[in-house]
Subunit: 226 residues, 2 copies
């Protein structure tokens, strides 16, 4: 009998992290979901994270509060900056400075406390919004850091950052999650969802998601507000 | 006339970070102090951070809340784990999992918002407590990460992690800070200080600090509770 493998899984309530959670579970990991209250505009995504975890029959997520929004600098945490509803070039205003670095750091802290050696994150470098911290070189650099920053690294173990969606298309992600029983109607991707989790259908995130279902040839279960 | 250089400086209220703040200021940086409410046992260190900033005539620190203590695993955030009052071997129970990774990540977020390209941290690899995230390889790995994680890295700039105490002895740190006008009576290093900032004189951190003043040949201004 092999030992139980424990994994911290970052769960945002969105489509990507729900898929990653289902993948980690299917790989036999004992999953420890981790979500963040970071000052985002709406808490619908945390509600969604709970719904996704319940549906996939993994433990309810720990929700850690981190006042990233207090530092400002992003449309996702600052109501004074409008969410773009048309494509933009360069790094968009919805970028939250260093968000994935902060989230992975807290995931690393939890992994160390639990003795887990795997941290799953749903970043994707194909159909994404142009954020620096969604690139393969970011994940590789964080994994190198994780192995010098922690007890595991000092004591000769290995901390692994798992980003299984990194090179997948949105359609491929949706196919994978569907096969693993993810109910995407429970997930919220919209940058300006209502408190009830209804999507705007116009922001970058909504557009990428809708195109994903179209390209996957699957019905889009997203609950839109219109 | 050269442009103003902005730096984020992590300020804990302790001896090391007070010295780093004085050094950054003396190098001509416009300093942006950053402190954390992370669930530590006492808030005396945050009070001390304010006192240090006022005395050095830099802006008051931003205090960001991050629920690191909620993840458990350290005597510094969990009152159920006793602070050792005699030397221990290996990584001590006062180690807070991934703390410096989390703090530098939030420093990185603030630096990115402010357009600062320098982040100062008071880690020290000589007279320290055996924490993995106080070693030179940790700082180097974080700097590499910072340059792929952020806009600056993507757009060809450079994010610098400055750890000027890394290879200094505690006595050397104290001499440097004293020359730059740091009032160490304002700083709190003790792992179990009272709310008023009075030190126990027995924990690892108190011991290292007291030895530093002794070796520096300077009077120890620490306010002890006995």
């Amino acid at each position: 009998m092999s030992a139980i493998k424990h994994a911290v899984v970052l769960v945002s309530g969105g489509l990507d992290s729900a898929t990653v959670l289902a993948m980690a579970k299917s790989l036999g990991y004992q999953c420890h979901p981790l979500s963040f209250d970071y000052g985002q505009r709406h808490l619908a995504e945390i509600t969604a994270a709970f719904a996704v975890c319940r549906h996939l029959e993994v433990p309810m997520p720990r929700v850690v509060r981190v006042e990233l929004g207090a530092l400002g600098g992003s449309a996702l945490t600052d109501a004074a900056i409008a969410i773009p509803e048309a494509p933009t070039t360069g790094i968009p205003v919805t970028y939250v400075p260093a968000r994935n670095t902060v989230f992975l750091s807290l995931g690393l802290a939890l992994a160390e406390v639990l003795g887990a050696e795997d941290i799953f994150i749903g970043v994707n470098a194909v159909d994404y919004s142009g954020y620096p911290d969604c690139r393969p070189e970011f994940i590789a650099a964080f994994e190198r850091l994780a192995n010098v920053a922690t007890k595991v690294g000092v004591e000769g173990g290995m901390m692994n950052i798992r980003a299984p969606l990194l090179h997948m298309t949105k359609a491929g992600i949706i196919h994978t999650g569907t096969a693993l029983g993810v109910d995407y109607a429970l997930t919220v991707s919209c940058y300006q969802a209502t408190d009830e989790g209804l999507a705007c259908g116009r922001c970058d995130s909504c557009r990428i998601r809708a195109e994903g279902f179209q390209q996957a040839g699957l019905p889009d279960p997203t609950r839109y507000r219109d």
